[in-house]
Amino acid sequence: MLTPSHYLYLSLALFTIGVIGVLTRRNVIIILMSIELILNAVNINLVAFSRLWGSVDGQVFAIFIITDAAAEAAVGLGIIIAFFRNRETVLADEMDLLKW
């Protein structure tokens, strides 16, 4: 029998994997992709509880999160392209122009 806890654990697993991806990888694009993974984990949570309470509010919230993720991905990738054009690198360690 499926309870909301199943979805909570799944969402937690995906969230943790996303956070590990953000903290451990050097390639900025993969960091961005891990952030998308985190947003998806949250979406699963929202939809599971929307099903539990029988109202569509959770799903509407999830739609807004997806919209937001699209906007953020577009701008983030634009920034990466701009930086790549100047510095020829996409590795987070090498983006140290502001270091003293």
Partner: protein, 168 residues
């Protein structure tokens, strides 16, 4: 083991394995492909939760839009030398341990607090027809966030175009 549970476990396992593979690939294109499979598995979970509209929206927007954007950019900024460099940062171990600690804390919160809410059994009342209900909610109760989201998308579109231009 009803059909429901089998489907859930299948998609859940697929999503988790896909996500783990995604964060460990050398090549960014491979990572993108595995993120696509993770997102498809998530869409499957939405379908299993009877959120049909969200299932299609996830596929059209996330997989069919955002990931195509990612793939285009990866192909634009691809450096052959990048594949042979070290993929994990110097603080990888610390970061991983911290992330797992965070996950363990949230897990403990779930276990200890699982009796705090009076969660009713999963109800299937008043969720059909799904698309019509979401449409009604979006255009009646959530009209303001809807309009703000469209302005947000406009701003993001202008921002992305300006950021990626060679000469402004």
């Amino acid at each position: 083991m009803t059909f429901d549970t089998i489907i859930f476990y299948f998609f859940a396992a697929f999503a988790v394995v896909s996500a783990i593979v995604m964060i460990t690939r050398r090549s960014a294109v491979h990572s993108a492909v595995f993120l696509i499979t993770t997102l498809l598995a998530t869409a499957g979970i939405f379908l299993q939760l009877e959120a049909e509209f969200l299932f299609v929206v996830q596929i059209i927007l996330y997989v069919g839009g955002i990931m195509v954007l990612f793939l285009f950019v990866i192909m634009l900024v691809n450096l052959d030398v990048a594949v042979r460099q070290i993929q994990f940062s110097r603080q990888a171990w610390v970061g991983a341990v911290l992330a797992i600690a965070l996950g363990a804390q949230v897990l403990m919160a779930f276990r200890l607090g699982s009796g705090a809410f009076n969660l009713p059994a999963a109800s299937t009342r008043a969720m059909q027809p799904n698309a019509e209900q979401i449409g009604a909610a979006l255009f009646q109760r959530y009209m303001l966030p809807f309009e703000i989201a469209s302005i947000l998308l406009l701003v993001a579109m202008i921002g992305a175009v300006v950021m990626a231009k060679r000469k402004i």
